[in-house]
Symmetry: C2
Subunit: 443 residues, 2 copies
């Protein structure tokens, strides 16, 4: 589990083991030790008087009956800012986005209430007893599935991230947009999904050997429809019914959605009601118009399915201030639509030198992986950034290389359409000044 652990008492005096420039420490160094600790004692743990120190005084809340437990657990009122930001809070008749506050979260799970969502026509109110899903087209036996019937099939549980193709659109700006991770990368989430492998259902229907694509259609008003290579259906596509243990959230496709682990969000069709087996792509609105990124040379990607290897540092990040020099842990999220995260490199000197972060396991493919590395900030300006490598050897591209191919815009963009705004997977870097304030910078 990537645990940092060492036995022994205060007073050991091993020096810090720096592994890269500007204070990066070995990923297995223990911070609370010997000299390293003594130097930071005033910061990390103010001493009390004497070894027999008495317990803390009772606080106000220690003296009376608390509030009542309810049928659904409650968050603390002090966490009221840990919510999604909305692009269309009045629900006007256009697309609605809800973005995840990654700078306030930790671990690898996105709680269901905070999972990102994008809906083109609001949240449909689907009666699960009435909903049906059809598999038809180039099959021996067309089938229709009610939820009741689907519930009897073999289930699989797996973790997978979901990311909008337009996540990180502001990163295409030629000047770094000064905003939190929630604004920059808030359209990606990670969850444990449970459902039926699509291959199990296709086996039952009997797919024509000449078939090569499927068309997936949602039951919401948008009837979002996407073409998907059949190979993905045989590989790891699922019809999911549960999200982090409970039935799908209403806005996540309740009662059933298509999950294509590692592939861009909109292809994971919510409220799925139809899988048509075909021998060609349908070139629907959402693939011919919306999700075909243009390139600087005026060509376009016809399809861009995979969310490629990517990482960003969540702690510390824009929106927080380092109060004092001394020890911090640099921590973040890495993921790859093609496999498992193999390694994450971190730099504290803007990419001049790199050190390998600890990666918390067990890592699972196409899922968030948490990385961290201890860091001693000496109080002078620093630039921290991360770069992930997956088990297929894919490396998160440096910004200059990425921009040379994919272009950038002359001013900040916040929409997810058009020129140079999709599938950003280059670095995210934070510049820390002598006051400990954090700015978004490019390296």
């Amino acid at each position: 589990m990537g645990i940092l652990k060492r036995r022994g008492g205060a007073g050991s005096s091993a020096p810090d083991e720096f592994v890269a420039g500007n204070g990066l420490l070995h990923r297995r160094a223990l911070l609370g030790k010997g000299l390293a600790l003594a130097g930071a004692a005033g910061t990390l743990g103010a001493s009390m008087n004497g070894a027999g120190a008495e317990p803390l005084q009772d606080a106000e809340w220690s003296g009376h009956q608390g509030t009542t437990v309810e049928a659904l657990g409650r968050r603390s009122r002090f966490e009221k800012d840990t919510v999604r930001i909305l692009s269309n809070p009045k629900g006007e008749a256009r697309t609605q986005h809800a973005r995840v506050p990654h700078h306030l979260l930790n671990g690898t799970v996105t709680p269901n209430q905070l999972h990102f969502t994008i809906l083109h026509n609001g949240i449909p109110d689907i009666d699960p007893e009435q909903h049906k899903m059809v598999i038809h087209g180039m099959v021996k036996q067309p089938l229709v599935f009610t939820l009741d019937k689907l519930m009897r099939y073999p289930m699989t549980t797996r973790k997978a991230f979901l990311e909008c193709g337009g996540n990180s659109a502001p990163m295409f700006s030629n000047e770094p947009v000064q905003a939190t991770l929630q604004h920059l990368h808030g359209l990606v989430s990670n969850a444990e999904w449970t459902g039926v492998l699509l291959s199990t259902l296709l086996d039952e229907a009997g797919v024509d050997p000449k078939a090569s694509w499927l068309l997936a259609e949602g039951a919401d008003t948008a009837a979002l429809t996407r073409s998907i290579p059949l190979k993905k259906a045989w590989d790891d596509a699922m019809i999911v019914l549960y999200q982090n243990g409970e039935r799908l959230m209403a806005e996540q496709g309740y009662p059933m959605r298509l999950l294509l682990p590692g592939w861009e969000g909109n292809m994971n069709v919510k409220y799925v009601r139809r899988i048509k087996i075909t021998d060609q792509a349908a070139m629907t609105y959402y693939e011919a118009r919306n999700y075909s990124p243009l390139l600087p040379d005026t060509t376009a990607y016809k399809f861009y399915f995979i969310n490629e290897v990517k990482s960003f540092i969540t702690h510390p990040s824009f929106g927080t201030t380092l109060k004092d020099p001394g020890y911090y842990e640099i921590s973040g999220i890495a993921y790859s639509g093609t496999g498992r995260i193999e390694r994450v490199m971190v730099s504290a000197d803007g990419g001049k030198s790199w050190a390998e972060a600890a990666v918390e396991g067990p890592t699972t493919p196409k899922s968030f992986t948490r990385f961290h590395i201890p860091w001693r900030w000496d109080g002078s300006p620093a630039v921290i950034t991360s770069r992930a490598i997956d088990d297929g050897g894919n490396i998160q591209p440096l910004r200059a290389d990425f921009v040379a191919v994919r272009g950038q815009t002359l001013k900040p963009v916040t929409n997810t359409f058009g020129f140079a705004s999709q599938h950003y997977n280059s670095l995210t870097s934070w510049g820390i000044d002598a006051k400990g304030e954090i700015k978004h910078v490019y390296v």
Copy 2:
């Protein structure tokens, strides 16, 4: 990931491969295949007319704008019964329990809103800026930690189940209590926790080599206080700050709680404000009175820390009815407070014969593991049950063996105190009659 997968079209005709009595199929059998499928086609997927079947007709919800996305995601209104049941819904001045609806969930994560909780004095409203935690007693350097300071330490993320020592108390009844899993086993949950290893903080304080225990105390009005062998602190104890990615729920110890993976719930002190290092157990109210289970021979366990290896079938289970004979998947949860789940055996004939279920990986120690096995129910009476084995070779005891040591009561008990009501880890069995109705039975 324990994926059941097989390529090919309808029409293969391999016979069912039975691996134990009463219809249990090999855990890697695919249900949607050949003859097995054809026999079940009318049940599992009603055929449509012709291979070119048209899409489903639009439902009411496909024709208009849906509802608005909010800052916190919403569940479907059709899931209103997927909530916890409360022992004290008016919050009277006594203990409050909230139990998990395991029969309605799947996968391995308990969503934060549905995590079980027990509080003796309600939920305290703690200001995280004011809360402090002290480490003192037999240490070189007593320390006090604010949340701000704790946030700078190295963090670890791990999955762990939490279970009340009194979970499953109704299972001590000499007659099987007819109730859902929520009533029988609703005081156990599983989550991903992120926080600081207690060993890191103890290293900084410098523990006296003569010390052997610690006393952990909560800041709520109950000031729940428990003695914990110091060895557990060095092993895997954590001060946790995050639950499934977000800060701890108010009722789970916000802003910080002690986590002792695999050890009975009440020792995982919520709202922890004090860790006192000592050389003996304090014999507090919650260990001398409440959590010292009595045995039939009038002796008592002085301490009973570990929640031992256990499993139960969640699908199908009490509260559901099998509508038709044919294929079903038997699925459930297994966990062990001493390690990783190695194997789960399932019987469909009340324990006369057993087959090995598929265990979904990667398995992690002291955490929920989901198991499943395909089953062909022939419509005659059956008794399904499960038995887990952990990687230490510990086997979930048969009921007769368990009761011989631990006793049972003459009538159903629902409280968690006193004679024969704690740490039940024997089998849970479901009797299915010819109408498909499910009763709780003992085997």
